[in-house]
């Protein structure tokens, strides 16, 4: 099963790219309508509630297993390092692991700063202050997607403590992680109806670890008790699959209900309707991971390609937001008709957003500068 986690990583990075591509959909459907429907005043919500619109929402929601899967694989890796005679993690290992994550992150964040500065120069060149740039780097806000890097670094920093707890008090650790997750869920549901104190959002959101602790700890726990879990999964796999489908459907229905009851703009749509923090969504994410582990003999379509994507997932993760930032603007000027056909636009954007990072990685790997590959892509 262990090597199949490469496949999970491949699926997860495809889901991440699909999610981010789908998030450009509403912009092109509502605000850029005039490009392919001349004379239309924008924003234009004629495509709201269409099949295309709901397919995009479904992609946004059902792809949200991705980051939890990355965290699960990382937790599982930590268990590999500490199974057997190796009882604890060394700080040297933590330091080296963080460096492997942070150097590429820094490089691509700086690349983003430069691209943003270049874009601003189309009008008047503007740059942030040094302090602002440092804050952006520390909080993972150079690109929306970079919050994950800040998050996973926190988990690796905590991993010596988490492993020690997992080895002696696993149930307590799982309980703490589950409680933190439940608190985050409560904050989300309360936040839909009343004002929640800002401190609650800081603790349970803003790239801080408590909310997602459960996925990393779950990876550690599975790694330590894999044989027992596999026996359990073999008994209940069809039930888990059933719950997966039900939770997926409930996630979509719940999002639509919230939207219809509460209304809201695009930000609301993004964070609540497309967000990961609801009860059905949490269930869906866990069921997705468990079903992946349970049905280990199933061959997925394109599994060979997904296996190849898996090891490159960090490099793709860092580069694809830059591609998604730029490509819609290029289409805007060169092929605006594409936005009228999401069924065509989305696959094209996903293919390019995967293809450019992969091409870049391949070129570097085959060139004389292949020695810096790890610094660029992890």
């Amino acid at each position: 099963m262990t090597r199949r986690l490469l496949l999970l990583n491949g699926l997860a990075i495809l889901a991440v790219v699909s999610n981010h591509a789908a998030h450009t959909g509403p912009l092109t459907m509502f605000w850029w309508t005039f490009l392919y429907s001349p004379g239309t005043a924008v924003p234009n919500y004629d495509q709201f509630g269409t099949i295309t619109y709901y397919v995009l929402i479904a992609i946004m929601k059902l792809s949200l297993f991705a980051v939890p899967s990355f965290l699960f694989v990382s937790g599982f890796f930590v268990s590999i390092v500490t199974r057997g005679d190796q009882s604890t993690l060394s700080w040297k290992w933590v330091r080296v692991t963080l460096a492997r994550l942070l150097v590429p992150y820094l490089i691509w964040s700086l690349a983003t700063f430069f691209i943003n500065w270049l874009q601003s120069c189309l009008d008047v060149c503007t740059a942030n202050s040094l302090g602002q740039y440092i804050t952006i780097l520390l909080t993972g806000k150079a690109q929306d997607a970079y919050w994950y890097v800040v998050l996973i670094c926190q988990f690796y920093l905590l991993s010596p403590l988490l492993v020690a707890l997992a080895k002696t008090r696993l149930r307590l650790l799982l309980l703490i992680a589950a409680l933190a997750h439940v608190c985050a869920l409560i904050v989300v549901y309360l936040g839909l109806f009343v004002d929640v104190p800002r401190i609650a959002y800081v603790i349970f959101f803003d790239n801080f670890f408590p909310r997602d602790l459960i996925y990393f700890v779950f990876g550690i726990a599975v790694g330590f008790h894999l044989t027992a879990l596999q026996q359990w999964l073999a008994r209940f796999k069809w039930f888990l699959l059933f719950v997966l489908f039900i939770s997926a459907i409930l996630s979509l229905i719940e999002a639509e209900l919230f939207y219809r009851i509460l209304g809201g703009g695009y930000n609301y749509l993004r964070h609540s309707r497309g967000g990961p923090m609801t009860v059905p969504m949490t269930l869906y994410i866990f069921m997705f991971i468990l079903c992946f582990l349970a049905f280990e003999n199933i061959n997925y379509p394109f599994s060979r390609n997904l296996y190849q994507l898996g090891p490159k997932s960090y490099g793709i993760y860092l580069i694809h937001p830059i591609v998604i930032q730029i490509m819609p603007k290029i289409f805007y000027h060169l092929a605006p008709w594409l936005f009228a056909y999401q069924i065509l636009y989305q696959p094209v954007l996903i293919t390019i957003s995967l293809g450019i990072p992969l091409l870049f990685m391949t070129l570097v790997a085959k060139s004389r500068i292949r020695g810096i590959y790890r610094y660029l892509f992890g």
Partner: protein, 81 residues
């Protein structure tokens, strides 16, 4: 019989480290040195299974078996007995 240590070292240098000029001592701790990360160890498991035609059980994917080229070679040696 192929030199397993050489095969493993070449794979680690060329595919994991992406630097054929790198130096990898057969006793070097691949994890503490940052050579193997989470995906690196998964790739190494896949490579070992495909190249040496064995199935690595999940419970054998532990630090002790993958900490160095020598440790991995020793594991393969034990596995083939």
């Amino acid at each position: 019989m192929m030199d397993r240590k050489a095969v493993l070292t070449e794979y680690i240098k060329n595919e994991i480290m992406r630097n054929r000029n790198a130096q990898v001592d057969e006793n070097e701790d691949l994890l503490s040195a940052g050579i193997l990360d989470s995906l690196g160890i998964l790739r190494l498991v896949a490579f070992v299974e495909e190249t040496f035609g064995i199935q690595v059980p999940d419970q054998d994917v532990v630090y002790d078996n993958f900490k160095s080229v020598s440790a991995l070679e020793e594991y393969l040696h034990q596995h083939n007995k």
